[in-house]
């Protein structure tokens, strides 16, 4: 027990030990940082660069580094938020189901676009990273990065690469997609909302979808459809592909 603090004052060290022993500190940190992120995003008129998730990640990472809290300790508390990723994934069934009737007649172009986009995502990221000399741990982290993070982490475990690194790349991809999508889609002259939304969902999963919903409802629905389909197909095809190619 630390007895060096002045008697009569609350012992900061004891408070700290008490709080960090419960999940509360990590939960307050996570939700508080996200709340700040959302406020900044609203104040910035939902500018894509003021991404609330990016802000939250930077704030939490900076805070735990500053107070010297090891990441596994933080995660012990924050795992309750993390757990809900699986639940949120299951809840994607609702937008997928709603999108199914609108999809009729478009199913072929959508599936072809999903396959083309998914392959492009893996091939370009893995190819460029290898070309620029990244090591195999990092290259492995790129394989599932366009799939929504909870599924991507599941895939990563199955193909024997780091789930954390995969999650970091998946989130970065989501943020980049949310930021860059408008410019890329304008450049290739994609004008229909359903096409724009679907392209964002294939490339930038959940974060792209949040962004798409905040721009246009149809784009959001197609984006969540794309994210769900990419997740399901990715979960089946990526481990198979990795096994076949012996990567």
């Amino acid at each position: 027990m630390n007895t060096q603090t002045t008697p009569g004052f609350p012992n900061i060290y004891e408070i700290w030990v008490y709080l960090s022993g419960s999940p509360l500190l990590a939960l307050i940190l996570t939700l508080g940082a996200y709340q700040i992120g959302v406020i900044v995003y609203e104040r910035a008129n939902r500018h894509p660069l003021a991404n609330p998730v990016l802000i939250a990640i930077v704030l939490v990472a900076a805070t735990i580094t500053l107070i010297g809290m090891p990441y596994p300790k933080y995660f012990e508390g924050a795992q309750f938020v993390h757990f809900l990723l699986g639940t949120a994934t299951v809840s994607l069934a609702v937008p997928i189901y709603k999108g199914l009737s609108a999809m009729r007649g478009r199913i072929l172009p959508l599936l072809a676009a999903l396959l083309a986009g998914g392959l492009t995502s893996i091939a370009s990221a893995v190819g460029i990273a290898r070309l620029l000399g990244a090591d195999s741990a990092i290259v492995g982290g790129f394989v599932a990065k366009s799939v929504t993070a909870p599924i991507a982490m599941g895939i990563a475990e199955r193909i024997g690469v780091s789930p954390t690194l995969t999650a970091v790349f998946a989130v970065s991809t989501g943020i980049l997609g949310a930021v860059l999508a408008r410019f890329v889609l304008d450049a290739v002259r994609s004008r229909e909302w359903w096409q724009r939304g679907f392209a964002i969902g294939v490339a930038a999963h959940g974060l792209g979808t949040s962004r798409a919903f905040s721009v246009n409802a149809e784009a959001g629905a197609y984006s969540s459809l794309a994210m769900g389909l990419h997740g399901v197909l990715g979960a089946v095809l990526i481990p198979l592909g990795v096994r076949l190619l012996g990567f």
Binding site: T30, S91, S121, A129, A134, T209, V236
Partner: protein, 114 residues
């Protein structure tokens, strides 16, 4: 709200069980998702409670990524050493993916309309 959450958790649980005992290749939540889509297709409707939970999740999906992504601190030195490769790969890949997906959609749906 609660009944929707219960439905989702039950399907998540079913998915985890199936993954554990039958289909180790596919993550449990994905199996749960597919089962729930099947269930909704059979019932032909989404009840209000389930709809509410699903839209709350999709609005704040981003929050749930934070704990895993903060893991970036553990890889920081490793990531910094490969910063250029990582940044280029991420940016080029996301731009290509969006462009290819949008172009394929545009090309194919134009063809099918005629």
């Amino acid at each position: 709200m609660i009944s929707g959450l219960v439905q989702i958790l039950v399907f998540q649980g079913l998915g985890e069980l199936i993954t554990h005992f039958l289909l180790p290749l596919i993550p449990g939540p994905v199996v749960g998702l597919v089962l729930l889509v099947g269930f909704l297709a059979l019932r032909k409707s989404v009840n209000a409670s389930l709809d509410e939970v699903a839209s709350t999740f999709s609005q704040h999906f981003g929050l749930l990524f934070v704990p895993a992504a903060v893991g970036v601190v553990m890889f920081w030195p490793h990531l910094k050493a490969h910063a250029l490769a990582i940044a280029v790969a991420l940016v080029v890949s996301v731009v290509f993916t969006i462009a290819v997906t949008a172009l394929v959609l545009k090309g194919l749906s134009r063809g099918s309309r005629q």
